[in-house]
């Protein structure tokens, strides 16, 4: 059986029960089957999605940050190796200075380098990450080059 992507409705229903008041209903879905989560609840939702028996997302594919000038969007691609399904969750951070998200390092070790990379290139911090420092560039480098206003 091929891997399938969970629909946004199915996912939203389970997450809203598992972690009350965690969904962000103000953001608009531009892509299909994406659920939006409040930035302060990211780690809670991730923890629920990992531990819930029906969802069982044990594999973190990737974390991406996108700079939209007025806000940043952070995208998590998840897969369940045992249940053979995938999901995408997104969150947004308003503003450009002193941005921070709860880290998912303690849930998935795979977040280690990816969160460091986002800090390095996009300038978004992750609270709870044990070793948050630059990864591609050197300490002392000025700025975060993947931001749209860098170049």
């Amino acid at each position: 059986m091929a891997v399938h992507q969970l629909s946004a409705e199915e996912l939203a229903e389970k997450v809203s029960v598992g972690v009350p008041d965690s969904l962000d209903t103000t953001s608009i879905n531009t892509a299909e089957n994406v659920i939006w989560v409040k930035s302060s609840k990211v780690a809670d939702v991730a923890s629920f999605m990992k531990s819930d028996v029906g969802l069982d997302f044990n594999f973190l594919n990737s974390i991406t940050a996108i700079d939209y000038i007025n806000h940043f969007e952070i995208v998590y691609h998840l897969t369940s190796i045992d249940k053979e399904h995938t999901a995408i969750i997104k969150t947004r951070l308003d503003g450009r200075e002193e941005l921070s998200l709860p880290s998912v390092y303690h849930l998935w070790r795979g977040a280690d380098f990816q969160e460091r990379e986002i800090w390095d290139l996009m300038g978004i911090g992750f609270s709870g990450h044990p070793n948050l420092k630059r990864i591609m560039l050197w300490e002392g480098f000025d700025g975060h080059p993947l931001r749209k206003d860098y170049l």
Binding site: N61, T64, V75, I81, G110, A111, F113, L137, L146, L151
Partner: protein, 368 residues
């Protein structure tokens, strides 16, 4: 009187033959035993993701060549799949077969290099490496017939492949397959059950399955720890849904198993190549797509393939312009390095070199 030891911190690399590129390990030793490891990289960081924001969708194909530069075909494939999903383009059948065929040849070439350098790190001083290079050279010759390039291929384009294979490609491929069986058997006989290889690699640097999954490890490294996760099977792309092949797995998770899984995958890749040759039919090799592509604003796609190193994905977001608004590369080499510390602590310096070889990383892809 007891002899006291003192921990010593040593930098291995960034310029060191065993680091497979410019990669540095800051290691604290007690004698020869490793106490702490910190991988340090970024020396080859070229800002591929930033560069992609300044180039149009067709031009980016050439950037993908330079990620994992020993498996350009598969990089092209992942990127093209992402862009095609973005545009909703249907790729012609013949192009799908040509892509599957070339991607599998590339996997063989990449694994031969991975295995060759792994054995080189073990101290085999060239012989198995040159056995691997002998066959890889012939694959590069085939690629040269297809697109004129040997390493940075850019053979695949959004919508299909750039050219159909020339007529003399098919007899050359048949000849290669015939020779390869003999050559690969020689390599297998030489190293697969070699006593020194076994003693040096069995039970060394074991990666348990639960940690592998938790640390997002993918590809042969994950499959050597007992999972059969392979995107070619789990979410078939191009012509993989019509291919009959097995996914080799091992359960030990040690250096030997990672090496063994790659050896078996080469056999399976050759099986897929043969099936492509049998099944391919004449037809168009590229969908009608313009040179300048403009996907709809707000669309995004996550094009992923099972690359030779693991799950390679391009996450492309469009704002309606001629360049992606954001292109993220999910690099398997980088993420597989997450487990370095776990694999190395407690082992000796000589094992460290071998373990690094068994992970088969490529710095072009780690640093991007």
């Amino acid at each position: 009187m007891p002899i006291h030891t003192e921990p010593m911190t040593v930098n291995i690399g960034p310029q060191h033959p065993s680091t497979h590129g410019v990669f540095r390990l800051r290691v604290t030793f007690d004698g020869e035993e490793i106490l702490e490891v910190e991988p340090i990289f970024g020396y080859l960081h070229r800002g591929t993701e930033k560069l992609a924001e300044e180039r149009n969708y067709t031009q980016i194909v050439t950037l993908t060549d330079r990620l994992d530069y020993v498996s350009s075909m598969i990089n092209n494939q992942a990127y093209c799949l992402a862009v095609e999903e973005l545009l909703g383009v249907e790729v012609p059948q013949r192009a799908k077969y040509l892509r599957t065929l070339t991607a599998e040849l590339q996997r063989v070439a990449s694994h031969l290099m991975g295995i060759g350098f792994f054995l080189q790190d073990l101290g085999t001083l060239g012989t198995p490496l040159m056995y691997g290079f002998r066959s890889r050279e012939k694959i590069l010759d085939l690629f040269e017939m297809l697109c004129g390039a040997r390493i940075t291929l850019s053979y695949m384009r959004p919508g299909g492949v750039f050219f159909d294979a020339p007529d003399d490609f098919w007899p050359a491929l048949d000849q290669f397959l015939e020779d390869f069986d003999i050559e690969f058997e020689e390599l297998e006989r030489l190293i697969l059950e070699n006593e020194i290889v076994m003693v040096r690699t069995r039970g060394v640097s074991v990666l348990p399955l639960d940690l592998a999954i938790n640390a997002s490890v993918s590809g042969p490294t994950l499959r050597a720890s007992g999972s059969d996760w392979d995107w070619r099977k789990k979410a078939p792309y191009d012509a993989y849904d019509r291919m009959d092949f097995e996914v080799p797995t091992a359960t030990g998770g040690d250096n030997y198993d990672r090496f063994w899984v790659r050896m078996q995958e080469i056999r399976q890749s050759i099986r897929i190549v043969r099936q492509c040759v049998e099944q391919i039919e004449p037809g168009a090799t590229r969908a009608e797509v313009p040179l300048i592509l403009r996907p709809k604003p707000g669309t995004e796609s996550y094009g992923r393939v099972e690359a030779s190193k693991g799950e390679l994905a391009f996450y492309v977001v469009s704002d309606g312009g001629i360049s992606p608004y954001r292109m993220k590369v999910r690099s398997p080499s980088l993420i597989n390095l997450t487990v370095t510390e776990h694999l190395l602590v407690g082992w000796k310096l000589s094992d460290m070199i071998v373990t690094l070889g068994s992970l088969d990383i490529n710095m072009g892809e780690v640093d991007r």
